[in-house]
Structures are given as C-alpha cells and as structure tokens.
C-alpha cells in the first residue's frame, strides 16, 4: 500500500502525541515528512546525498522541538517543519560543511529512504511508465520538451510545426491523462 499522506488535523494529533512522549508517533511523523524534506533540499541543492544528510538533521531538529513542546501551533506543524528546513538549509549555505555531528542523534528514524519508501518510489515510477506508454508519441514529445528540456510552448510549437495554442492544449491534456492514469492504476495496483 502506498503511504497515505495525512491531513493537517491528523498531523496535529501526531505532533501532540510526540509532545506527550509517544515514541510510536515519531515514526509516523518521519514517515509523513521525510520525503517532503528530502524533496525540498534536493530541489534547492540538486544534490541527493546532501538531501539525505540535511534531511536527517531537519527531522532531528523538528522532532526535538516537538518533544520539548516548543511548537506553538500544532495545527500548522507542516509550516513549522518547512521553517526548520529553510533555516537549516540557509545555515548550511552560510557555514558550509560545519560539523554538527554532536547535535545529531542516531537512535531516531533515518531520513534516508526506507525500503518501503524505495518500493513505493519504484511502484510510482512503474505506473508513470505505463501511463506514458499510452500517450501518443507526439504528446510524449511535447511533455519531454516541456519537463526535461524546459522549452516554452512557443519554442515547441516552432519545432513541431504546431501553434502555441495547440501545444498548450495538448500538453495540458497529456499531463491530465498521465495523472489520471497513475491515480486510477494506483488504486487498483496490488
């Protein structure tokens, strides 16, 4: 089963349990936020290894603050984790490789992808591959030029001999189709 991401109300309850000393809630917290944190860091740094290292640090700081009851608005625990992530990333850029190993604990759940997360990532990739295989080749090409090459509709239109309007429409439809297909398949996947 893919990880089900929780709504803010549920996250607030998880945060309350951490504050109250429930160790099992920490696993749930890590499960909910570790991928977001890694995504955030890797998008900012384009460095997967750094995303794992800083991800660990961000999760530790966030959990420590929650345990100590330092998070005032538990309904917005996501915003708190994001703020922590930004601060730590900015610190990293400022200090560049400062040794903070003393602040890290090793008994906390790892921020690196767990086997379950790795399995889910492979499963998602398979679903996307299947969805992509169902697209018209020219639609795949439009997506490729958009999401990989970073081309604008006007540039794509000029290369494919279409109008910008047609490129925008086909891109939009193709994305919708892929997302719908992935969504439909992931509901039926074993």
């Amino acid at each position: 089963m893919p990880t089900v991401l929780a709504a803010p109300g549920e996250l607030a309850r998880v945060a309350e349990r951490i504050r109250d000393g429930d160790a099992s809630a920490e696993d749930e917290f890590v499960r909910q936020f570790s991928e977001r944190v890694r995504t955030f860091v890797s998008m900012r740094t384009r460095d997967a290894e750094l995303a794992r290292d800083l991800g660990q640090e961000i999760m530790v700081h966030s959990l420590t603050a929650l345990r100590r009851g330092q998070v005032r608005d538990l309904e917005r625990v996501g915003a708190f984790v994001y703020g922590t992530a930004r601060n730590i990333l900015n610190n990293h850029f400022r200090t560049s490789r400062q040794d903070q190993s003393e602040e890290l604990r090793t008994d906390l759940p790892a921020a690196t992808p767990t086997p379950v997360e790795q399995f889910e990532a492979r499963q998602r990739q398979t679903l996307v591959r299947r969805a992509l295989a169902r697209l018209d080749r020219s639609d795949s090409r439009i997506l490729l030029m958009t999401l990989v090459d970073g081309s604008k509709p006007g540039e794509i239109a000029a290369r494919l001999g279409l109008t910008s309007e047609v490129v925008r429409a086909r891109k939009s439809r193709a994305l919708k189709k892929v997302m719908e297909h992935v969504s439909a398949l992931s509901r039926t996947a074993p």
Partner: protein, 272 residues
C-alpha cells in the same frame, strides 16, 4: 498559496524546472509541506520527469503517427455518410440527388416524432442520436490530504457523479463553483452533470464558463459537450461552431468531432 493556484498557474511544472521566483517558490514549498494532495502531485511530476528523461531517445527517435490519427475519422465518416444516403433516399422529396421537397417540414422536435403527421419522420430520432451524450470519465483522486471547501464539495459531487447520480451532483457542484468560480474542473463537471440530467440550458452556461476560463485540461471537452448542449436545444449552427473549435484544438476528440461535424452538417442540409 492554494491548491487552485497550484493547478491554475502550472506551479508544479515551474517549480521542477526552477522557473518560479523566490517568493512563489517559498509559497509553494510551504504549501506542499502542509498539503498532501499537492505534494503527491509534485511526486508524480518528478516521476514523470525522470521517466521522460530515461526514455528520451525512444521518444525522439519514434516518428509521431499523426497522419493515422488525422484520418482515423474517415472510415467512420464514410459509414455515416453511406447510412445517411440510404436513409435519405428512402425519404420522399429529401433524398440526396432526389427531387426537391414540395414544402419544408416543421423543425424536428428533439424528443418525439409522433406529432409530425402521417409522413415518415426519421429526422427526430436522428437528432436524438446527435444529442446523445456519454458521461466523461472521472478518475477520483486517491488522496486523503487537506482539501479546501470547494474541493470538499467537488469530491462530494463527484462521488454522486460516479454513481451516475448526475442530478444529485449538481447542487454540490454549484456550491463548489460559488466558492471557486475559476476552477475549470468544477465548471466543466457542473456543465456535464446538467447535460446528463437533461438541463441543456444550465449545461451550456457552465460549459461556456469553462471555455471562458481559457486553457485547461477541460477546454477541448468543454467545447465538445457545449456542442451537445446546443444540439439538445436545437441550436445546430452554434453546435457546429463549437465542434469546429473542438477540431481546431487537434486533441483526442478530433476524430470524434470530425464525424460529429459531418453528422451535424448532414442534418442541417436536410430541409424540414
């Protein structure tokens, strides 16, 4: 930042490509830390980006088979044309190449041909065929994540829609539309639900609103279903215009729209 802004402004795509300004980037990041739905969308886009990059050579080296799609409508159109020809040749005074009608019949009603007198009235069921609508598929999101009020109402409506309770879907869709009048998916399914519930006037209003919102994944379908709504109201010229707009978008409905256009033009050509 709201989920609607994320969808409307192609934020995920720009984020992945590093094209967002600092302020928009920060706003989106904070949003996906709090919104399960948008984070899952971001993951799907990332997966798609990876898969596209991985299969780049295959995509680029395989020629697009546009000509197949371009003419895919032709066999169906030929069948329709032949059927129409046979059908009209059996109708007094209206056959293709036959003698001109003595007097033009009254406009064909949509629902029944019973009141059209003693002569055969095949045009009415033909128009019914043109007005027939199949419900567009809706793939429900699997996420449990936080949803804004419009999305909550939309999901309630789409639960009914998936159970084919189109009339029951209309009220929550209207409420969702009031909360978020700029959401194309809400406007589109409001239009379609009205159409499927036999309310072509309201359907046309909502589908025109969908079109007026500009480019969206629903634009092509909105034109197509708007044509259907016009057919139901007997407004064939406006239906033809909408079908032509569907064709110009050169999307998945192109072949179907070309056949439909041929049918509408044939219908219009028959004196009544």
């Amino acid at each position: 930042m709201s989920c609607e802004e994320v969808n409307r402004d192609e934020v995920v795509e720009q984020y992945l490509l590093g094209q967002l300004g600092d302020e928009a980037r920060d706003a989106f990041e904070q949003h996906y830390f709090e919104c399960a739905r948008c984070f899952q969308l971001l993951q799907s886009y990332q997966d798609l980006q990876v898969e596209l990059a991985r299969s780049k050579d295959a995509i680029v080296s395989t020629p697009a088979r546009r000509w197949i799609r371009k003419w895919a409508w032709l066999p169906a159109a030929a069948v329709v044309f032949l059927a129409l020809r046979v059908f009209l040749s059996e109708r007094p005074g209206t056959g293709i190449g036959g003698s001109p009608p003595v007097a033009a019949p009254a406009p064909a009603p949509l629902a029944s041909s019973a009141s059209q007198g003693s002569s055969p009235q095949p045009a009415a069921p033909f128009l019914e065929d043109l007005a027939r609508v199949e419900a567009p598929r809706y793939a429900q999101d699997r996420l449990r994540g936080a949803a804004d009020p419009a999305t909550v109402r939309f999901q309630q409506a789409m639960d009914r829609y998936q159970q084919r309770d189109y009339a029951g879907a209309i009220a929550p869709l209207r409420e969702a539309s009031r909360v978020d009048p700029e959401a194309p998916h809400i406007a589109f399914f409001l239009g379609v639900s009205n159409l499927l519930a036999g309310r072509p006037g309201e359907a046309a209003d909502a589908l025109r609103a969908t079109v007026a919102l500009g480019e969206s994944p629903y634009l092509e379908e909105a034109h197509f279903y708007l044509a259907k709504a016009y057919v139901r109201r007997g407004r064939i010229d406006e239906a033809i215009t909408e079908v032509e707009r569907t064709i110009r978008l050169r999307g998945e409905l192109e072949a179907q729209a070309r056949v439909f256009l041929g049918q509408l033009q044939a219908f219009k050509a028959v004196p009544r």
